[in-house]
């Protein structure tokens, strides 16, 4: 057993070729997942049982099952169903990339809506009452009073979720996608040098995590600059 430095130097550029795909998976599913999370949040707090119950069931299912199983159901499972193959979403669900995006979006949307709900519930009641006393409509109150405060409250949890979403993108390698993890696995299969390759890719992932945390730390500081002097 030896530690092959040349192999590390050789494989890091190869793995970095996959960083683009990792970022595509991360940003696309984060954007779509955030939109889905907001939609689920609005349904959940709508106060109408026929809207909030299905949302709760959705969240319960997607948070209660492993993301790997969700990816497998969407990528390997759905083509079994005829109406999916004939449906309009088939061009997306035919490709592993589309499936990965769909799975990550559906999963992270469920988690994010709960985070957003935590933020909304954390907004002081008095502010909402003041809003309605001023004659603001429900929609206006949500947009101008609740949302800005809720965003600030749920930012730390949101940044944690971005990190776990980033970690979940590595699972795309299980459905043949060549993101950083996929390339690392290919190199290990060829060279059988797990320590060198996996530890190098681990360092790259750690740097991305660090960058995400730093970015959100900066945003948090900026958004709460009125609090501190």
């Amino acid at each position: 057993m030896s530690f092959d430095i040349a192999l590390i130097i050789d494989s890091i550029p190869k793995m970095l070729m996959g960083i683009g795909l990792t970022f595509q998976l991360l940003f696309l599913s984060l954007a779509l997942g955030t939109a889905l999370g907001v939609m689920l949040l609005i349904l959940r707090i709508s106060g109408r049982w026929y809207l909030s119950w299905p949302t709760m069931i959705y969240i319960y299912i997607f948070r209660g099952t492993p993301i790997l199983v969700q990816i497998f159901i969407i990528y390997y499972g759905l083509p079994q169903l005829e109406f999916v193959r004939d449906g309009i979403f088939w061009p997306i669900l035919r490709e592993p990339f589309g499936c990965a995006i769909v799975a990550l979006t559906l999963n992270t949307g469920a988690y994010l809506s709960e985070i957003f709900r935590g933020g909304v519930l954390g907004v002081d009641r008095g502010l909402k009452e003041a809003g309605s006393a001023l004659g603001l409509s429900v929609t206006d109150r949500f947009i101008y009073i609740t949302a800005p405060i809720a965003i600030r409250l749920c930012l730390p949890a949101y940044s944690n979720d971005v990190v776990s979403l980033m970690k979940s993108t590595a699972l795309a390698s299980t459905i043949t996608l060549l993101d950083m993890m996929g390339i690392a696995r290919t190199i290990v299969a060829e060279t059988y040098a797990p320590y060198e390759v996996f530890i190098s890719v681990m360092v790259i992932y750690l740097i991305i995590t660090w960058a995400i945390q730093r970015t959100f730390g900066w945003i948090e500081k900026r958004m709460s600059r009125h609090v501190r002097q």
């Binding site: 993108t169 993890m181 750690l206």
Partner: protein, 231 residues
């Protein structure tokens, strides 16, 4: 649905493997979490630095990467060690079950470290001073005062860690442990019904998650029963 008929027993044994994996990893998670939290709270600089490195690395890298590194890494190391004694040996690996439970426990243990650390800090210092004033030893204070007070605080976040733990067990199928996801792959090979089989796996995991959620709710009630208003 009739496709599942011949596979019920396989899925049952697969689920049993998940349960075993869960409990072994849970035990190790608590162990790693307590060691990590202890090191972070100790005055020892080296211990603190190691614990900080541990939480940064295991919370910041994908679970699948840790798992594969453990499984294939340990195989390389074990083979190298075995070849010192017997050069004819080609390949030795540690069983996927142990590689898997160790990797998962290290990952969730890094989250548990932070939870336990916060919970230990949340224990009222007056209680610890009181036990010291009563002449109770440090170890006894830890067992009889700190632990009972901290686990109440740690329980709600630790419940979430247990949910992550049960869901992470699905990953161990990738290194070839015969748990539910692995059984599903075999069943698909014969029946050609991937949707049915993976939905069944999802349903099994949903059942496990529900059991954990309900158990944590009961435990929380038990932990806080002294706070309930008596009627």
């Amino acid at each position: 649905m009739e496709a599942i008929t011949g596979w019920w027993d396989d899925f049952f044994w697969g689920s049993l493997v998940v349960v075993e994996l869960f409990f072994v990893a849970l035990f190790l998670t608590i162990l790693f979490g307590l060691i990590g939290a202890g090191s972070k709270l100790s005055g020892n600089k080296t211990a603190k630095a190691i614990a900080n490195g541990y939480t940064i690395i295991f919370r910041g890298t994908p679970e699948i990467l840790v798992l594969l590194l453990f499984y294939f890494g340990s195989a390389i190391t074990m083979t190298a060690i075995a070849q010192i004694f017997d050069p004819t040996i080609k390949f030795v690996d540690i069983p996927p079950f142990w590689a898997g439970s160790l990797a998962i426990a290290l990952i969730i243990g890094s989250y548990a470290t932070e939870t336990f650390r916060g919970a230990f800090l949340g224990v009222d210092p007056g209680q610890i001073e009181a036990s010291r004033a009563l002449g109770v030893s440090n170890l006894q204070t830890f067992i009889y005062v700190r632990i009972p007070a901290m686990w109440r605080l740690a329980l709600p976040p630790f419940g979430n860690h247990m949910l992550s733990l049960i869901k992470d067990t699905a990953l161990v199928a990738i290194i070839g442990l015969e748990e539910t996801l692995f059984v599903a792959e075999q069943a698909i090979g014969t029946t050609g019904k991937p949707f049915t089989m993976y939905i069944l796996v999802g349903a099994i995991y949903l059942g496990f998650s529900t059991i954990i959620t309900l158990s944590v709710m009961r435990l929380e009630k038990y932990a806080n029963k002294h706070l309930e208003v008596t009627r």
